[in-house]
């Protein structure tokens, strides 16, 4: 998709891919034929720039034909560079600017709490994204309301657009920060489906707190020359690189 569009954010797509696969094919309750079903589990892609991975997951989950992925970012495509709920089923809110997903997901979770509904709300943020203050004001609200139906997954690939997170605005100790804000925290290998499945499928009822899963990942996972390499935040492969990447991924 990124190769054909000649633009995108492949590094973060690959760090998020295993998380998305686990959510859509092992954790969440949804029916792609009823994208507005009030009882569906919700997923909010806060790191909207990684729309490539998100669209691939939605297509694989049956929200739209996989063929449509070829139109990624083409003129008038439904697959905008950042997801738009009015174009595509399965997109809950329009994201792109960072720090928007968690507060919206919190609102969804509050709606579920008010109705005593049993759906869960999942939100995936980048780690650099946690430098946005909106996440932290919202962290207070979610903990205050004991939103056990809310799960935040942090794609902790330790790289942001320009450099390592720890060389830009230190996030560590990230788990302690979330605990201090009143969240239940789990740390997992974000490329290990069994570990992800374990923490994401654990019963939310009775936890009494929102859940933060810090998923340790690598930007560009699965492609040797992109692996943990900051230049692939929004790099685009040439033909040779594309072929090598596809060979390594298969």
């Amino acid at each position: 998709m990124v190769y054909e569009a000649q633009q995108g954010h492949p590094g973060g797509d690959f760090s998020a891919a295993d998380i998305l696969a686990t959510l859509y094919f092992g954790v969440m309750r949804f029916d792609p034929r009823k994208p507005n079903d009030p009882g569906r589990d919700r997923f909010v892609m806060s790191k909207g720039h990684c729309s490539g991975a998100f669209y691939a997951a939605l297509a694989a989950a049956g929200y739209f034909p996989e063929d449509e992925l070829k139109t990624y970012m083409e003129p008038l495509s439904k697959l905008n560079g950042h997801p738009n709920r009015n174009y595509l089923p399965g997109v809950e809110t329009n994201t792109g600017p960072l720090g928007h997903g968690l507060p919206v997901a919190t609102g969804i979770a509050i709606a579920g709490q008010l109705d005593n509904a049993d759906f869960r709300t999942f939100v995936l943020t980048g780690d650099g994204e946690l430098q946005e203050g909106s996440n932290w004001e919202c962290a207070l609200t979610a903990a205050h309301r004991k939103l056990e139906n809310l799960t935040l997954i942090v794609d902790r690939n330790r790289l942001q657009q320009g450099a390592r997170t720890e060389d830009t605005a230190t996030l560590d100790p990230l788990d302690e920060k979330w605990r201090a804000f009143g969240w239940h925290v789990e740390m997992v290998d974000g490329h290990d489906h069994a570990q992800l499945l374990d923490v994401l499928s654990a019963p939310a009822k009775g936890r009494g707190k929102p859940l933060c899963v810090i998923a340790n990942t690598f930007k560009g996972k699965g492609v040797s020359f992109m692996h943990d390499n900051v230049s692939w935040h929004h790099g685009v492969p040439n033909k040779e690189q594309y072929e090598q990447a596809m060979a390594e991924l298969v």
Partner: protein
């Protein structure tokens, strides 16, 4: 001259109308919830909290969360009325208003309280004379600036009935109840003519409408028949009413807002590209000096005498 006369001197705080209406609507529609940022008192929502304690979400002093939580609640099937001081719900949370509400096109009602210069001496940080200019850029967001208690109540009902984003701009400045015929109705996008006249038109909204009516009375005494149009909806505009205003040959707009980009700007964009006629835009030039709201209105000529002067000058430029 007039179909509208003030029958009493009683003045009303439109926040009370908002609060009574939202309580009545909530009793009818279980989907309605309110969302506040420690802004219960300033939104006059104490009664709502007492009656519907589980249907008020107070996120704390956190406007970005305030607006985004509104978007999330709409996703979860609620009809949220998100209420806070207009200066903060817009300026502080503008990207959430843009991306989470307008661009996502969700069914959220934003209530901007104590707009304009209502906070007077507290100064421009707390004034909200930029809000309409900012929000007018979101083409799918309905913008309503009611002029009195009846219209506030009608605007809240219309907002609840509309499926999509709406911003209602409410003042804490007390205003008289405008007299209307018994069959008066409010509809989003429809202006109302409060005073008939063919020599010039004042297009006003919000707290300025009753002042426009008073100015028209002064002008009638000297033979300038001035129409007063209450343009309560700034988006979408009532284009027919503006075209008819242009036919009077002179337009003065009047709002408790900056002269840049608000009602005046909206009217000017349309008039300039359809039927250009002499215009004046009355409002505030920018950040204002220290003073009460009443002082600021007088200081910037937003009183009947100042408005009448502007009409006379504009009529003198008629072609």
């Amino acid at each position: 001259m007039s179909a509208v006369e003030q029958t009493t001197d009683e003045l009303f705080d439109c926040r009370e109308s908002f609060a009574q209406t939202i309580e009545a609507l909530a009793a009818e529609d279980p989907r309605i919830v309110t969302v506040v940022s420690d802004s219960v008192g300033s939104s006059k929502l104490g009664g709502f909290r007492t009656k519907f304690p589980d249907r008020m979400v107070n996120v704390g002093i956190a406007e970005q969360t305030l607006v985004a939580v509104g978007a999330g609640l709409a996703n979860g099937g609620k009809v949220p009325f998100v209420s806070a001081a207009s200066c903060f719900i817009t300026g502080r949370a503008m990207e959430q208003v843009k991306a989470d509400i307008a661009y996502s096109n969700v069914n959220v009602k934003l209530i901007g309280q104590s707009s304009g210069v209502a906070y007077g001496e507290l100064g421009p940080t707390h004034h909200s004379i930029e809000d309409l200019a900012w929000l007018r850029l979101f083409n799918n967001m309905k913008l309503i600036v009611p002029a009195d208690p009846w219209q506030t109540s009608e605007a809240i009902r219309a907002a609840a009935a509309h499926d999509g984003p709406v911003f209602v701009r409410i003042s804490r400045m007390k205003v008289p109840a405008l007299e209307r015929s018994a069959d008066a109705r409010f509809e989003i996008g429809s202006a109302e003519t409060l005073v008939e006249g063919d020599d010039a038109t004042i297009i006003a909204n919000g707290t300025m409408v009753h002042r426009a009516v008073a100015a028209a009375r002064l002008l009638a005494d000297e033979g300038i028949a001035t129409r007063v149009v209450n343009m309560a909806t700034v988006n979408p505009l009532d284009e027919a009413a503006i075209a008819a205003a242009a036919d009077t040959g002179a337009i003065v707009t009047l709002e408790e807002h900056s002269v840049r980009g608000g009602l005046g700007g909206a009217v000017a964009e349309l008039v300039a590209t359809t039927n250009p006629v002499p215009m004046r835009i009355l409002g505030f030039p920018g950040f204002v000096p220290t003073g009460s709201a009443e002082f600021l209105f007088d200081h910037f000529g937003l009183n009947p005498a100042g408005i009448a002067d502007a009409v006379r000058q504009t009529v003198a430029r008629k072609r």
